[in-house]
């Protein structure tokens, strides 16, 4: 048990119970979004030269990375995941990113995607604000995830015609340039 790691957070004035709940809800949102983005990606095949499919795939894989990166911190802080997956999913910090009624409607799909990313930006901004200057490790993690969520929002927003994102897509799918350093196995399972 990370006893001192918890004490320093508590002594800094953070409501550690509330923080644990926020982190579990955030992890649940990443987990469910990974699932729903899989469906969206499958249905995006053929749209616009498959460019949309590629950025959904980047966001999908990076959301899975976010789930993986959040887990150690939840347990370090004395939290845990619910034993039942259904309980976990129902606690997700963001709404489910359902496939639109008409799966061929690209604009509707983009609205789902950009809405989900904007929700994620609010989730991690909230955690950053709660931990800034108090819980340095959670803050750094939340900030790293926030950086990627902001980029995801910009990609989908650009696709909707709301303006340029200012950056290009990932070099490799799901690269997680900000979050990968928090992953236990950042680059697959190879030790080479």
């Amino acid at each position: 048990m990370a006893k001192v790691a918890q004490e320093v957070v508590q002594n800094a004035g953070v409501d550690i119970d509330e923080l644990r709940k926020k982190l579990v809800r955030a992890a649940a949102a990443e987990f469910t979004t990974y699932y729903y983005y899989t469906i969206l990606r499958v249905n995006a095949i053929g749209f616009d030269g498959e460019g949309l499919k590629e950025i959904i795939e980047d966001a999908r894989l990076e959301d899975r990375n976010h789930f993986e990166a959040l887990l150690p911190r939840i347990y370090e802080l004395g939290g845990e995941l619910p034993r039942d997956l259904r309980d976990f999913a129902s606690e997700a910090a963001c709404p489910d990113a359902y496939l639109p009624q008409d799966p061929q409607d690209m604009k509707e799909m983009l609205k789902v995607l950009v809405g989900a990313e904007r929700c994620a930006v609010r989730v991690y901004t909230d955690i950053c604000e709660m931990t800034f200057g108090k819980d340095h490790r959670t803050y750094e993690l939340a900030l790293a995830i926030l950086n990627e969520e902001i980029e995801h929002e910009a990609w989908f927003s650009e696709y909707l015609g709301e303006g340029p994102s200012g950056h290009f897509r990932r070099g490799t799918p799901g690269e997680s340039p900000y979050t990968s350093r928090f992953l236990v196995v950042p680059k697959g399972h190879s030790r080479n």
């Binding site: 910090a93 359902y98 639109p100 609205k111 789902v112 809405g115 929700c119 609010r122």
Partner: protein, 115 residues
């Protein structure tokens, strides 16, 4: 005629803030936006989160637990209602509006009616 009863003083709530008040056996969320006051149920209709712990983005209220968005003036769900597929009827109960109550400002007092 609905009976308006004092719930707070105008100066007790700064613009851009909100506060919960015990009022006639209920918890009412009072929100102050640009000189106007709005009264809503204090709990999110989705999973009963205490909305006072959420955030205000102008006239939009964000639930603290699942980050649903509501129009403070009407209580209407703005997100995810705008992206939830209408063919999944079971989702309708998730995106209900927050009940709102009429508000009047008389002098220095903010009055609300639950009628």
């Amino acid at each position: 005629m609905p009976q308006f009863i004092k719930i707070a003083q105008v100066r007790s709530l700064a613009p851009g803030t909100m506060q919960t008040f015990a009022f006639q056996g209920r918890q009412v969320l009072l929100v102050h936006i640009e000189g106007a006051f709005y009264a809503l149920d204090s709990r999110c209709p989705h999973k009963a989160a205490p909305l006072v712990e959420g955030k205000l983005w102008g006239g939009t209220l964000e639930c603290p637990w699942h980050h649903y968005l509501y129009d403070v003036k009407t209580g209407e769900n703005l997100y995810p209602r705008n992206v939830y597929p209408t063919d999944l009827a079971f989702l309708k109960q998730d995106v209900r509006s927050i009940p709102c109550y009429p508000v009047q400002v008389r002098g220095e007092d903010v009055l609300v009616t639950l009628d």
